[in-house]
């Protein structure tokens, strides 16, 4: 994705970033070093501390501890300078639902110092580029989810920022809208914008991000490229559903033999789940099931889900298992903090 580490300068450099709400350590000692011109993915479940981190980095929330430099400026001491260079698209609409798309963009343009005419031209240019021209005069609250996201991102780049924060830009969008947002992000990055995006989907981080940090309970528990991350988690999971529940035990036994891994039997009496280390073994295993005359209604090999990444990284039983199997690759990923 563009030239990485273009000149080795950092867009974000954070050390020991902390935010505590009462007893709740929402962000608990986060270190970041994000080079300019790259896309950094923040992957974590609900309540992990993604939004809190992003809000601190975007000058909306004061960190309790830690030192942060954004594009060379001190986050707390030089907030105004930072605000000139960064832009945020929040998790929940950060445009005014009561105004039309056009009015929203003109408002931001005027606040940034464009003349009435310039603001209007820029608004029109962005609405056209984002496929929102026809909806320009409608109130944003009547937009669809995908349109809302797009107008929100458009509002963030009325003046293109050097650093853009996108907080869960595609959560709740259908696949087509999600692809549109991904396209926009890719074009933005190709024009030199550094992007920090948060997401709950490994696939999204995989698609867009140069590097990914996995965050849980306010701590970064793993960091690396998506390749490194997947190597530590395994290739994914094989999900199989048998037609006849009485055959499940037999099928499970066969799969264990063929895949050389432990099998999980979920509460669904038809389902079998296997953590796969090598995808090639799967074809064989499925052939064996057919030979044994075990009928399947469904099978799929999924990319590791966030759940699985977490199960692996946060020290549940699966973790030890994978560690032994993929001991070599795991070393790429530096683990941080206490797990479990």
């Amino acid at each position: 994705m563009g030239e990485k580490h273009a000149n080795g300068e950092l867009a974000i450099e954070a050390k020991g970033l902390k935010k505590i709400f009462g007893e709740n350590k929402a962000v608990d000692g986060v270190d970041l070093a994000i080079p300019k011109g790259t896309v950094y993915g923040f992957l974590g479940p609900n309540g992990a501390g993604k939004t809190t981190t992003v809000r601190m980095l975007a000058t909306l929330l004061r960190p309790d501890e830690g030192s942060v430099k954004i594009l060379g400026y001190d986050l707390m001491g030089e907030a105004t300078e930072v605000r000139k260079k960064v832009s945020l698209t929040g998790q929940f609409a950060s445009v005014d639902g009561d105004l039309s798309g056009m009015e929203n963009l003109i408002l931001i343009g005027r606040l940034l110092g464009f003349s009435r005419k310039e603001a209007k031209e820029r608004a029109m240019e962005l609405l056209t580029a984002f496929g929102l021209k026809d909806a320009a005069k409608q109130q944003v609250k009547n937009y669809s989810g995908g349109m809302k996201r797009r107008i929100d991102i458009a509002a963030s780049i009325v003046v293109s920022p050097e650093l853009l924060f996108l907080d869960e830009p595609t959560t709740g969008l259908d696949p087509r809208s999600r692809n549109q947002v991904w396209d926009i992000i890719r074009v933005l990055v190709s024009t030199g914008t550094t992007v920090l995006l948060t997401t709950q989907y490994l696939e999204e981080a995989d698609q867009l991000a140069d590097r990914i940090a996995v965050i849980d309970q306010g701590k970064i528990i793993a960091e690396g490229t998506s390749g490194e991350l997947k190597a530590s988690v395994g290739a994914g999971k094989l999900h199989v559903r048998v037609l006849d529940p009485d055959q499940r035990a037999e099928a499970a036994k066969l799969l264990t033999e063929e895949l050389h891994v432990d099998i999980q039997l979920p509460s669904d009496p038809l389902a079998i789940v296997a953590q796969v280390s090598d995808t090639e073994l799967v074809t064989n295993a499925l052939g064996k099931l057919a030979n044994a005359n075990i009928k399947l209604t469904d099978f799929s090999l999924g990319q590791p889900s966030l759940d699985e990444v977490f199960l692996t990284l946060t020290g549940k039983p699966v973790e030890d298992h994978i560690d032994e199997e993929n001991g070599e690759e795991v070393q790429h990923i530096h683990r941080k903090g206490e797990v479990g």
Partner: protein, 279 residues
């Protein structure tokens, strides 16, 4: 149908998009007055979409004036026309002061929206969001005043201070209301819901406006109540406004109102901004 939608919404990653996204032009940072006016424009746009929100500054004043003039006029002053000369400046002040509380409710409502995160992350003079809002509110208060004075004139209000006196009276009232609005913005940021804000505002405004010299001459009151009425800032405001409209105001009366306004802004504007930044 589906197909149609698809083509309509399809995003083309083409030259236009790339050029729109790669524009790096950064205009000169605008000053605080300009950004405040832009936020004022935002407030006006909202009125365009929800014109009903003008009811409080149009219907309210008319209702108040008719109600109190004809309800109390005969009983208190013997004749409604005499009473109107005394009542109108007071009821005008009371109405406008009551309307100010909507400012807090509006902010309380607005601030919850995600768009405030964006405003706060822009490189602009922080208070301009609120100043813009209050400026438009001041326009609303002027409208309420104009409606009330016009209706009053039709009903027989003939101020001795003439047009100049009336305008000066309204000006003083607007200044005081602008300062009072900062109390409501502070509360609007502290209180969690519009309902609780309404409750607190009523609790403050009801006694302050009624236990004042709006309706009756305080000399007719028991002495302990008279003491309260005398120091009540609303009474000070009403005395000065009434004085200006009838051409009898003293420097002292006016100074009290100016002083009260400055003190209120001095305390509550910074307090509001502190809460706003911390939010």
């Amino acid at each position: 149908m589906n197909h149609n939608l698809d083509t309509e919404n399809k995003l083309e990653v083409d030259e236009a998009m790339i050029s729109a996204l790669s524009s790096r032009e950064r205009p000169v940072k605008p000053n605080g007055i300009s950004t405040s006016l832009t936020f004022g424009w935002r407030a006006l746009l909202k009125i365009k979409y929800v014109p009903e929100q003008m009811l409080d500054v149009t219907a309210f004043p008319i209702m108040f004036l008719l109600m109190f003039t004809y309800l109390f006029g005969g009983a208190i002053a013997g004749s409604t026309s005499d009473y109107l000369q005394f009542l109108l400046p007071g009821i005008l002040a009371m109405t406008v002061v009551t309307i100010t509380m909507y400012t807090g409710m509006e902010l309380n409502n607005d601030i919850r929206k995600g768009v405030f995160d964006r405003f706060r992350s822009l490189p602009i003079w922080g208070p301009s969001v609120l100043v813009g809002m209050l400026l438009v509110d001041t326009v609303r208060y002027s409208l309420a005043s104009a409606i009330m004075i016009t209706l009053g004139f039709i009903m027989g209000f003939r101020p001795d201070g003439g047009l100049v006196g009336v305008l000066l009276g309204v000006g003083l009232l607007l200044l005081f209301s602008f300062s009072l609005s900062w109390i409501w913005t502070t509360l609007g940021l502290i209180l969690r819901s519009e309902k609780s804000l309404m409750g607190v505002s009523m609790l403050v405004l009801f006694p302050l406006t009624f236990v004042s010299n709006v309706f009756v001459d305080p000399r007719t009151l028991p002495s302990w109540l008279e003491a309260f009425v005398e120091v009540n800032p609303i009474s000070l405001l009403v005395t000065a406004t009434r004085g200006l409209m009838h051409g009898t105001a003293t420097i002292e009366e006016i100074s009290w109102v100016l002083l009260a306004s400055v003190i209120i802004i001095g305390i509550f504007a910074p307090f509001t901004m502190y809460l706003y930044r911390k939010k």
